[in-house]
Amino acid sequence: MAVSPARRLREELARKPSPPADKLLLAEAAMRLVRDGDHVAVGGTLYSRTPMLLLFELLRQGRAGLTISRPLSCYEAELFLVGGLADGIVTSWVGIGLPWGISRVVRELVEGGRATYEEWSHLALGLRYKAGAMGVPFLPTFTMLGSDLTGLVDTHEMTCPFTGETVLLVPALNPDVALVHVHRADRFGNAQIDGYTHMDADMVAAARTVIVSTEEVVDAERITKCADATVIPHFQVDAVVEAPMGAFPHECYGRYEADFAHFDDYVAAVRRDGLAAVSAYLDRNVHRQPDFAAFLASFGRSRLEGQQARAAELMGR
């Protein structure tokens, strides 16, 4: 997407009131905020704190022409491409992890020219969200210099007027929508994340519309009690969705581990059936389930509890 001038971004914000009002919505209503053609930034990274409940709802509703950006993309990117909602991804890496090999789906779509993959270095993408969050149209960096990556994307080299050094300018990324999953939020949208925060805070501050799903909706008092743990202030948030285990089968730090066996099954099916396996996955887990709770229930309670127990064990609880 083209870089927006600061004045335009600010005018958009100024048009929106930002009260600490009750923003609690059901996923179905919240996801209506996403429009065809939007650039949707997806919080978390790889298989950590992915806003899976929100993504599944969006996949259920269907959209066209979306672009999906994410620091490291996991198989949710494949669902959006094969599901026909998105025709491009902006990321630094796509796959699940070493044991699962290269993404056959992305290979097939990108090599065949049916989807675009705009590649930025991990830091460069982080700086793009950060520039967007800081309200400036670019940030300078020493990464990506000299590589062939810069030839494929919109960057500029300049000479630093203070030191004479060569720096690369990467453009701000202000997504139309940011979707993030957090540990706790009050109904106004003040949100806290435990552990590593990925790029969520910058993504949210940069975005034009923000939907937060949360493991727990808590009283405002719970937030003010440890206000230094708040990473998203309410006036950056448009909707709050209650989503216990809302990142599953991905992990949520301290709450539950990722379900690696689920990934195994998915990858085995793709190896066997190609893109059709992705459609079948969508059919089984999204379209034929009335909601995310039903999808979770399909794992069975003991498996879900096992994932929570593993997290507790790792946290030394």
Partner: protein, 245 residues
């Protein structure tokens, strides 16, 4: 002055307040007509609730942070302003000129200042980055000067579209609230003009206390006096604030 300032704050908005009149005006607004106004303070503080009688003396102290919903770094708060999240910013003024430029740095020349003032603090940032800037100051000829000795905080610079041409991304000062009047800026020339009078004040009173030719709005009106409830709330808020209880 505090009451007039508070009435400029609309509900459902975010105000970047300094201590003193701005904070009092913001808390008053929340209690009177804008319960969902969010207060942000430069010390990394978002959404605090003040304790009556224990108002902070700076925006970087515990009293200012009470019951905040978010505590973070100073730079991050100003970056919220740069992104456009902060609707109102308040400024005081040692000097203010006909185009709303403010000086809090030097009286006299830069090389040999007659008075070295404390400096900008966050004032320049507020003037540059908050969506709308409200100036609150005592109305005296030595403050209301034709041209400030030094532009610490940019108003409309030389007037017209000078501010936009300088690259500034926000609209700048919309209103000046004083003990005598409420003033705004002519939409074309961006020169200060009289809008409304505090109760009991005449146009002549205002002109006498202004060190430059003041334009006037076609229809200058009278400001409503403070309500009894306004004064009660302010009295309660300030009680004991000056004593290190």
């Amino acid at each position: 002055m505090t009451v007039s300032a508070s009435r400029l704050l609309a509900d459902h908005r975010v105000v970047f307040a300094g201590v003193g009149v701005p904070l009092l005006a913001s808390v008053l607004a929340k209690q009177q007509h804008a319960p969902d106004l969010t207060i942000v303070l430069e010390g990394g503080i978002i959404g605090p609730r003040m304790l009556a009688g224990k108002l902070p003396i700076s925006t970087n102290e515990m009293r200012a942070a009470r019951h905040a919903s978010m505590l973070t770094a100073i730079t991050d708060v100003f970056l919220l302003a740069q992104r456009g999240f902060l609707d109102y910013g308040f400024l005081g003024a040692a000097q203010i000129d006909m185009h709303g430029n403010i000086n809090t740095s030097f009286i006299g020349s830069v090389e040999r200042p007659r008075v070295r003032l404390p400096g900008t603090g966050g004032a320049n940032d507020i003037a540059s980055l908050c969506n709308e800037v409200l100036v609150v100051t005592a109305h005296e000829p030595r403050r209301f000067v034709e041209r400030v000795d030094f532009v610490t905080s940019p108003g409309h610079l030389d007037g017209g579209d000078a501010r936009q041409k300088a690259g500034l991304v926000s609209r700048g000062p919309s209103t000046v609230v004083t003990d005598l009047a409420l003033l705004d800026f002519d939409p074309d020339s961006r020169r200060m003009r009289l809008c409304a009078l505090q109760p009991g004040v005449t146009v002549q009173d205002v002109r006498a206390q202004t060190g430059f030719e003041l334009l006037a709005h076609p229809e200058v009106y009278q400001l409503e006096p403070p309500a009894i409830s306004d004064l009660e709330i302010l009295r309660e808020l300030e009680a004991g604030a000056a004593v290190w209880d």
